[in-house]
Each structure stands twice: as structure tokens, then as C-alpha cells.
Amino acid sequence: MAELRAIYVLWLRAMKRFLRAKSQVIGTIVMPLFFLFSFGFGFRGLSMPGVSAGIDYLSFLVPGIIGMGLMFRSTIVGFSVLWDREFGFLKEIMVAPVRRVSIVIGRLLGGVTTSLIQGILILLITLFIGFTVPSVSAFFLMLLLMVLISSTFIGLGLILASVIKDTQGFGLIMSVILMPLFFLSGTFYPITNLPEFAQVLSYIDPLTYGVDGLRGALIGTSMLPLSFNILILLGTSALMIIIGAVMFERTESV
């Protein structure tokens, strides 16, 4: 009970901070939308090899943009751990009689919720430019995929935050890692268009399965079976979070 209360208040704090940081909310939506509009309209009417017939490029792009937005948004959890360390608040959390696992779960739930809000906001905006969600079940499948994608990258953020202790270094390393993940994931093009060696890298990239899964759920066409994508993401999110939690457990708060 005490642990649940702690998880709840950690989640609540994340929500309050999220809603108060207007620039953060806007900032994380603007970048995906920027890509969506420039590429979506720029390449409108272009027939991209590897995209199934009957799917226009904008529809192909939307799930990719949602996935990419989730990835970038999720790493904020790792960033907030460092932020708390810098401002001393981490000590306040660490000295409380609460198990470290609960602290990780609280942060994870906070991060997943904010990512979901962001993902849904992006989806809402795409509805205005002609994107459609085919069914209620597709919507819930999308939510499931969103949870898995953000959990994976929250785990990655926690791992990095345990290794890199300063916020600047964290930002730098994050962008070095995220950019290739972003471009290899097939957000803008089917990865089958890539040379073979790059395709191998794409299959290591968890975001590939996220984007492909979202396509399966939202536009009904995907490279891999939807259930396979979900299975892989279940694995990556569990793995990342467990490693992240173990490493967080070991970090000294002072």
C-alpha cells in the first residue's frame, strides 16, 4: 500500500511537471509535426517503392512520425533523473523509505502517460489533414504499441542516465544514439529500400518494430506480422526496463 502510494505520487509529480512545462509539451509536438508536414506534403503524390499500392505517402508517414515522436519524448524520463540529481531532488526521493523498484515504476508510468498524451495529440492533428483511424480496435492496438515503444526508450534513457551523470553529456549521447535509430527505423521509407547491411542494422533497431507495428495497426499494411512486432517490443521493453532498473538501483544518489 505504501509502495503503491509512492508510485502514484511519483506519477502525479510527472503529470504536474508535464502540464506546467508548456514549452516542453509544444516542443515535443512541433518537431514530429515539422517532419510530417515537410516530408508529407513535400513528397505528396510521390510513389515510394515498397509502399503497398493504394496507400498514399502521407498515410505511410503518419505511423512513423508517431513512433519517432514517442521515442524522442520517452528519453525525457532519463533526462529528468539527471535533472533531479542536479537539483538535489533525487536525494529527497532516494532517502525516502520506498523501494527503488517503486521509484522506477513511478517514473516509468509517468513517462508512458506523457508519451501517450503526446502520441495522441499528434494523431489528432493528423486527422485534420486527412488521416483516418480505421476502427476502435485499431486505436487500442495503437495504444498498446505506444506503451511498448515508450517503455523501451524510457528503459534506454534510465540506462544512460545511470552511466552519464551530467545533463549536457546525456543530451549529446542521446542524440548520437537516437538519430541513427530514427533514420534506420523506416519512418520515411520502407527499410527494404535500404542496402542490405543497413537493413541488418534496421532489424536491430527496436523502433523499426514500433513503426512497422503502428503501420499494421493504423493503415493495415506492415512488413512483418503485427503480432510479431508486438512480441519483439514486449521483449525489448522488458529488457531495457529491467537493465535500467538494475542500474538505477546501483547508482549512488550523492
Binding site: Y8, K16, F87, E92, A96, P97, V254
Partner: protein, 331 residues
């Protein structure tokens, strides 16, 4: 309340805390006084289970800091050296966060938070975001927060670091008030002599990780002898005055021009005797002054050096400025 036996902490071969042992009684306000880097914060970090000692042990309210960490954490409150508040939350939200992390129910929480906000006079600012608080307000909020879960022991790590003189005195008053009203045992670290002297029931002087003296401030000062009285006579009367001063309690007399410097104990009670005997024999005194030893003198006596008011590091200063959102000082 606290029993410490042979507590030692080494960092990469450097001994930060060296075989420290002492006890703290229930309700006592004990000060750890020493320069920066003496090991004060390390002692607190070990007692609060944030870091593990290299050797030695301690119990807090009967709980072992090594084997009963959760019980220890439930029994302590801490105010860290650098403000540890979430400045994007309001004062009330910071307190609620703490209360929930420590498992207080909703009813308990409400009652306790209101009680403490009143005690530190922040009730009317409870719903303001913390980044708008002044440094003194942040400290008061942290004092209140440290006490929400009714800890048996409260640790205060340099509670007035970086505050201006006026605000420091205000914080001192609150610390005394909390000590009495909440009947909480307090251990505080400081490198300010006046702070230790004013606040603490007992002071442990720490240097290079070792406790070199531990007693009531007044006893520490008395251990150096009571102080010096300087008597200034009218010119030409110095020799006569010296003859008058044949008191048994007088340890030493030094002459400097028309000034006599007397080494005495219980100086304040000797002044009337000196003045009376001078009057009786017609020696006019121009001035009499008494200087009692301070804790600074005690520190110099034991370590052979003065505590330097070391500058805060740049990052520390920046961080504190940032936390306070540019509003300095006022409590």
C-alpha cells in the same frame, strides 16, 4: 537516541571520517562544527543510510544503520546542504509529495502539513510555485518537510549556507522552535562558529575526519580560561594599578603603555572588583573591556589553525542562485 561506534569512511584511500564515536541524547541539539571537507556531511550521509561506512557502526533509535536501513529512514528527516525541492511544484505539493512517499494517509497528511506550514509561517505561500520562493523561504519549507513524518532525528546539513545574516537568524529561531515544540533530536553541521554557539546544546569539533572536542559550547570556551580583561588607566598610574591587582584569581598581567591585559577566569564577575579597588585608591580608569573566548578560539586552540570561511564553489553558487529564481535573501 544515537550511538556511534568507530564510524569510518574511506574514499579511494582517503579517510574522510576517521574512527568517530559519540552518543546523542533524546531531544538534544548537537552540532558538528568544522571546516569544509572535515567530514561532517559524510557522517550525516552515513547516519542517514545514503552511503555505507567503510567500517564501524551506529544505531539510531535502536535501529542499525547497516542492517535496518528502512527503519532508520522512517525515523529520520533530512535537510540537505543544497535545497532539494522541486521548484516546479508549489510548497504544498512538495510537502504532499514527501508525506505520500513516507506513507501518510490523507487525513494525517492534511493535518500534519497545515500544522507545520503554520509553524514555519508559510501557510499563506503554500500554493506558490517554489521557484518564486526566496532562499529563506525554501529553507523553512525544507525544515517543515523534514518533520512531516514525525522523525525521531532531524539532520540539518549547513542549514544556513548561502543565506544573508538576517535570514540566518530567522532560520535559527525556527530551528530552536522546532527542537522544542516537536521534541525532535537534531544533528546539524556547520562551519559557522556563531551558529554552533547559538543553537547547539553540545558541539563536536571536527577536523580531518576526527572529533577533537565534544562538549557544551560554554564549557569548551571555559576550557581555554575565562578570557582577557583590558584595563586602560590615566597616564602615570599604571604602576600603581599593577600593585593593586594582587588578586588570587589573576593568572597573568601584561602591560602595553597605559593598558593592562589581564588573563582571568569568569571575567564578567571580576570587572566590578577591579573597578572598585581602583576607585578606592584613586586610580582613574579610562576604559575596561572584556573579551571572552569564542568557539573560533577553541578551534584554533585544538587544531592550531582557523576555520576558513571557504568560498562556495562556482557550481554550488550558480545552483543556489538558480534554485532561488534570482530572489535573494529575504526570509
Amino acid at each position: 537516541m544515537i550511538e556511534i561506534k568507530g564510524l569510518t569512511k574511506k574514499f579511494n584511500g582517503l579517510t574522510a571520517v576517521d574512527n568517530v564515536s559519540f552518543n546523542v541524547g533524546k531531544g538534544e541539539l548537537l552540532g558538528l562544527l568544522g571546516p569544509n571537507g572535515a567530514g561532517k556531511t559524510t557522517i550525516i550521509n552515513m547516519l542517514s543510510t545514503l552511503i555505507r561506512p567503510t567500517s564501524g557502526s551506529a544505531t539510531l533509535n535502536g535501529y542499525d544503520i547497516l542492517n535496518e536501513r528502512d527503519e532508520v529512514r522512517n525515523n529520520i528527516g533530512i535537510v540537505f546542504q543544497i535545497p532539494a525541492l522541486d521548484n516546479q511544484l508549489t510548497g504544498m505539493e512538495n510537502l504532499t509529495f514527501h508525506a505520500m512517499m513516507y506513507g501518510l494517509s490523507k487525513a494525517e497528511r492534511k493535518k500534519r502539513i497545515n500544522e507545520l506550514l503554520e509553524l514555519v509561517d508559510l501557510s499563506d505561500r503554500a500554493d506558490t510555485l517554489v521557484y518564486k520562493y526566496s532562499g529563506g523561504m525554501m529553507r523553512r519549507l525544507e525544515l517543515a518537510r523534514g518533520l512531516i513524518h514525525k522523525p525521531k532525528v532531524l539532520f540539518l546539513d549547513e542549514p544556513t549556507l548561502g543565506l544573508d545574516a538576517q535570514t540566518r537568524h530567522v532560520i535559527w529561531d525556527y530551528i530552536k522552535k522546532l527542537n522544542h515544540r516537536e521534541k525532535v533530536t537534531i544533528i546539524l553541521t556547520t562551519h559557522y562558529m556563531d551558529e554552533a554557539d547559538f543553537l547547539c546544546d553540545r558541539v563536536a569539533i571536527i577536523d580531518n575526519g576526527k572529533i577533537i572536542a565534544l562538549d557544551q559550547p560554554s564549557k569548551l570556551k571555559d576550557s581555554l580560561g575565562g578570557g582577557t580583561i583590558t584595563v586602560e588607566t590615566e597616564s602615570g598610574k599604571v604602576d600603581k594599578m599593577i600593585k593593586l591587582l594582587n588578586f588570587k584569581w589573576l593568572n597573568k598581567i601584561k602591560q602595553r603603555g597605559n593598558n593592562l591585559i589581564l588573563n582571568v577566569s569568569k571575567g564578567e564577575s571580576r570587572i566590578p572588583l577591579i573597578v572598585n579597588s581602583a576607585n578606592k585608591c584613586g586610580v582613574k580608569l579610562k576604559s575596561v573591556s572584556l573579551r571572552k573566548p569564542t568557539l573560533e578560539d577553541v578551534f584554533i586552540h585544538f587544531t592550531g589553525k582557523a576555520i576558513h570561511d571557504e568560498e562556495m564553489s562556482n557550481t554550488e553558487r550558480l545552483r543556489m542562485r538558480f534554485m532561488r529564481g534570482g530572489m535573494h535573501g529575504r526570509a
